[in-house]
């Protein structure tokens, strides 16, 4: 018997159809309700367990009361084990966090999480990478890589993970500034990582049947080895966020690099950690510099998602020719084209075309930037 957790964020997605671009904060939810919005999440959430009903004898579905999963599970045809307590109609982020923690403590094999980026952040806050989590996309913004492409795909991935052993992978949880987003500006921060079953049909190949995390780590290490070998003295290396760039720091023996922020390296040493735009500009004043970035999240953005410290001015000062994109072959298979959204349309245009991404030790790939 496999233990599968189900957490539904009942208000996720409420702001989407009415054009509010998200559902973070009580005010927004009230506003959405006033605009006649209906929760999207419960309808989407029911599709995943429904797909798993043929296997219900083999699954113990653990869920939270009422609209946080119980209703959806029953509607799908399961007889779930319901834990915890909520005040129906007034659920909050705290309920999501508590549910995640309790499911972890009960030893569930996988949590299915119906919601959006905000829900993923709550679960990350609660349990980090303690147990695997898979997102059923039902929010407004799903920039995090923890989400399956649709509820049916989520069910299939869950099935494969529970019975055929899919590898696990650290996937990005994104934090998009909803206020800025409502004003028409995308500004996403890399918030953290969740442990997600990784579906190899996206990337196929026998070697991936072992452990994607392991294979991808090896690939990241190979990229890092190449980058470090090519490093030159007196150049300021601006190391963007993410696990691929972290590998470069690790290759240099730097253990305290900033996973979610930007670090500066000179002569193979960390000279400043977690810097902001102004600090970068000061550091590169009158000095040659190189930016090392890795695509963040699912959409393949190399600028403008999770690394806004690398502002248009920073990019211009460094120069297009001094941007090194680092991406494992696996990452590029998921995002075969790269994107830029620096906030400066003219700069975005200049960055478009073809660039070279370092994909391994002495291995580069020409990739389209759109």
């Amino acid at each position: 018997m496999q233990k599968l957790g189900l957490i539904v964020n009942p208000i996720a997605g409420i702001g989407g159809r009415v054009g509010l671009k998200g559902s973070d904060g009580k005010e927004v939810i009230k506003k959405a309700m006033a605009l006649g919005a209906k929760p999207v999440s419960p309808q989407r959430a029911v599709e995943a367990p429904r797909e798993l009903v043929p296997l219900k004898e083999k699954i113990l579905l653990v869920t939270y009361p009422r609209e946080m999963g119980e209703d959806e599970a029953k509607k799908a045809g399961f007889a779930p084990k319901v834990i915890g307590e909520i005040t129906s109609g007034q659920t909050t982020a705290e309920d999501t966090k508590r549910a995640a923690r309790e499911m972890r403590d009960l030893g569930v094999d996988l949590i299915l999480l119906a919601g959006g980026d905000g829900t993923a952040r709550d679960v990350y806050d609660a349990i980090g990478v303690d147990i695997p989590v898979l997102g059923v996309p039902s929010g407004v913004k799903m920039h995090s890589a923890v989400f399956a492409i649709n509820p049916w795909a989520a069910a299939r991935i869950a099935m494969e993970f529970l019975w055929e052993e899919l590898p696990l992978k650290e996937t990005e949880v994104m934090d998009l500034d909803e206020e800025a987003y409502r004003r028409g500006r995308l500004s996403a921060k890399l918030y953290g990582y969740l442990l997600t079953p990784y579906e190899p049909s996206l990337i196929q190949g026998v070697k991936f049947a072992s452990s994607t995390t392991e294979v991808e780590r090896d690939e990241q290490a190979a990229i890092a080895k190449h980058v470090v070998e090519e490093m030159k003295p007196n150049i300021v290396y601006i190391l963007g966020p993410g696990t691929t760039t972290r590998a470069v720091a690790e290759e240099l023996g730097i253990r305290n690099s900033t996973l979610l922020g930007v670090d500066l390296l000179v002569d193979r040493k960390l000279v400043a950690g977690d810097v902001n735009e102004q600090q970068i500009l000061q550091a590169i004043e009158g000095k040659p510099a190189t930016i090392l970035v890795s695509p963040i999240g699912k959409q393949g953005f190399i600028f403008g998602r999770g690394n806004q410290q690398l502002s248009p001015e920073v990019i211009r000062r460094v120069g297009k020719d001094n941007i090194l994109v680092l991406a494992t072959p696996q990452k590029l298979a998921l995002t075969p084209v790269l994107k830029v959204d620096t906030g400066d349309a003219k700069l975005d245009d200049e960055l478009r075309g073809y660039i070279r991404a370092i994909t391994g030790y002495r291995q580069t790939r020409v990739v389209k930037v759109v």
């Binding site: 049909s201 196929q204 026998v206 049947a209 002495r362 020409v366």
Partner: protein, 504 residues
């Protein structure tokens, strides 16, 4: 239909046919060894008193290997549509000729005057291959396709060194639809690998290539037709782009089965080409055993070829081996190539003749297109790239729709095909097609056989909905069912010694 095949399974009390070391027993004699000499010059620490070799009678040996062969599958048993491998029939006449004493009982150290026939055969095979690929000279030494690629990269290095450009030219461009060994061969020769993507038609993205070429380009490695079975119709532009920056063009000719007699690497503007005799020229696939991957070059690159080169002295009327080549990359293997393989390939070329080789390509391309047309529209399979034009010698379907609808992917389709008594197509390759099923029927298959293959693939697509468990469990009628492929490749047990250690 699937019950017409059942593979032999020799097992005793749940154990498959034992290893040869576990068979026989003391005193089972196969043949007698000559008495060792009283005195040898070998140092004492190399002398062994105990060999621990198995002792088996002749009949035990014969039965052992016959049983193993019955638990195997081969081109002589049935359809073998393993894409990119060209598993065509190996004519028995070629095998017979290669078994003649004049081929098997000569030694590479023999005086040239006593092996004139062998030298003549190599000289003439070289001329044939040069004519087929449209190049000036060919080296027969490399013992495998990837070895041929590697030698080609060594020649590329020698060329740039000769021009004093070895320090600037550090990159080799490889399309993402290339043979998997290309990047490895370039890297082994010390080059950085620069990969260019394919466009929506499954051909090299020319704009990406424009961004890739530079004064740092040493060479580009191109497979044409590529691994999607598609002809690079902009090959002339590709060649020009690379030549314009001073790079060389390498043609991966592992598989010429789609273009024999129709187009030639040399005519397309390539500088270096390699051949896999075990694909195009019907010699058996060694599976790690003896192969042959000759390399052909233009006149300009001739001086860099490995030594020795077989030459003909008209005055003496004799063939001889020429080692006096100062610009040569040197030796790339012991002696002159896998001679037995060369004999089979030469016999095949003479047997087929120019027109025959062309017909082989025509039939191979026709068969692949027949599969493409007949299988197109089958629910579950789709063509990812250019679905309009003809393919060449192979066709790549994607089982992605099947995977999406039923959860059954290319691997399950391939495994299930074994239950139908056919070898699987290549699956999960090329990596640019998700759930790839790469089918290459070759010219050897009759229409009946190809129809059988197509019907099996269609039946499996239906089974994916009606009986998915059967596919997940497949193959079930073979001697060995599904293996733990990851374990097999990570912890292989390759010798009796390793096996003993593993068991202990």
């Amino acid at each position: 239909m699937s019950d017409w095949y059942r593979q032999a399974r020799w097992d005793r009390e749940g154990r498959l046919e034992p290893l040869v070391f576990e068979l026989g027993g003391p005193g089972h004699i196969g043949y007698s060894l000559p008495k060792p000499p009283e005195h040898t010059n070998l140092p004492k620490h190399l002398l062994r008193t105990e060999l621990r070799l198995p002792e088996l009678s002749e009949v035990e040996v014969v039965r052992h290997y016959t049983r193993l062969s019955q638990m195997n599958y081969c081109v002589d048993l049935g359809t073998y549509p393993l894409g990119s491998c060209t598993m065509k029939y190996n004519p028995k006449l070629c095998e017979e000729l290669a078994s003649l004493e004049t081929a098997t009982c000569i030694h590479p150290y023999q005086a040239e005057g006593t092996v004139q026939g062998a030298l003549e055969l190599m000289y003439k095979l070289e001329r044939c291959l040069a004519e087929i690929a449209g190049v000036a000279r060919v080296c027969l030494h490399p013992s495998a396709g990837a070895h041929g690629e590697f030698v080609s990269m060594l020649i590329t290095r020698a060329y740039h060194e000769f021009n004093g450009e070895q320090d600037e030219r550090t990159q080799v461009i490889v399309p993402d639809s290339a043979h998997g060994t290309n990047p490895a061969s370039a890297a082994m020769a010390g080059y950085e690998v620069l990969i260019v993507p394919s466009d929506a038609r499954g051909r090299v993205d020319l704009r990406a290539l424009e961004a890739a070429v530079s004064e740092r380009t040493a060479a580009m490695m191109l497979t044409n037709p590529n691994t999607l079975g598609l002809f690079e119709d902009r090959v002339v532009d590709i060649v020009e782009l690379v030549h314009d920056v001073g790079g060389l063009l390498f043609y991966d000719g592992a598989n010429l089965n789609g273009i024999l007699g129709k187009s030639r690497a040399g005519d397309m503007g390539f500088d270096i080409v390699h051949f896999n005799l075990h694909k195009t020229f019907a010699t058996p696939h060694g599976g790690g055993g003896p192969g042959a991957g000759p390399v052909g070059v233009t006149q300009e690159l001739e001086k860099f070829l490995p030594v020795p080169v077989v030459e003909y002295d008209e005055k003496r009327g004799e063939y001889y081996l020429d080692y006096d080549r100062p610009n040569s990359v040197g030796k790339v293997r012991a002696f002159y190539g896998n001679f037995g393989v060369l004999v089979k390939a030469y016999a095949y070329i003479l047997m087929m003749g120019a027109r025959g080789l062309e017909e082989a390509a025509e039939a191979a391309v026709l068969n692949a297109n027949y599969v493409m047309r007949k299988l197109s529209g089958t629910r579950g399979y789709e063509l990812k790239f250019d679905a309009t034009g003809p393919c060449k010698h192979e066709v790549v379907f994607s089982a992605e729709p099947l995977k999406r609808e039923t959860g059954i992917g290319a691997r399950e389709v391939a495994k299930r095909l074994l239950d139908y008594g056919m070898h699987a197509p290549t699956y999960y390759f090329p990596p640019i097609v998700s759930e790839a099923l790469m089918i290459e029927p070759t010219e050897s298959e009759s229409r009946d056989e190809i129809d059988r293959l197509i019907n099996a693939l269609k039946a499996i697509a239906v089974e994916a909905s009606t009986d998915p468990e059967k596919l997940r469990a497949a193959p079930t009628v073979t001697a060995i069912g599904r293996l733990d492929e990851v374990k097999a490749s990570r912890e292989p047990i390759l010798s009796w010694r390793m096996y003993r250690k593993h068991r202990a």
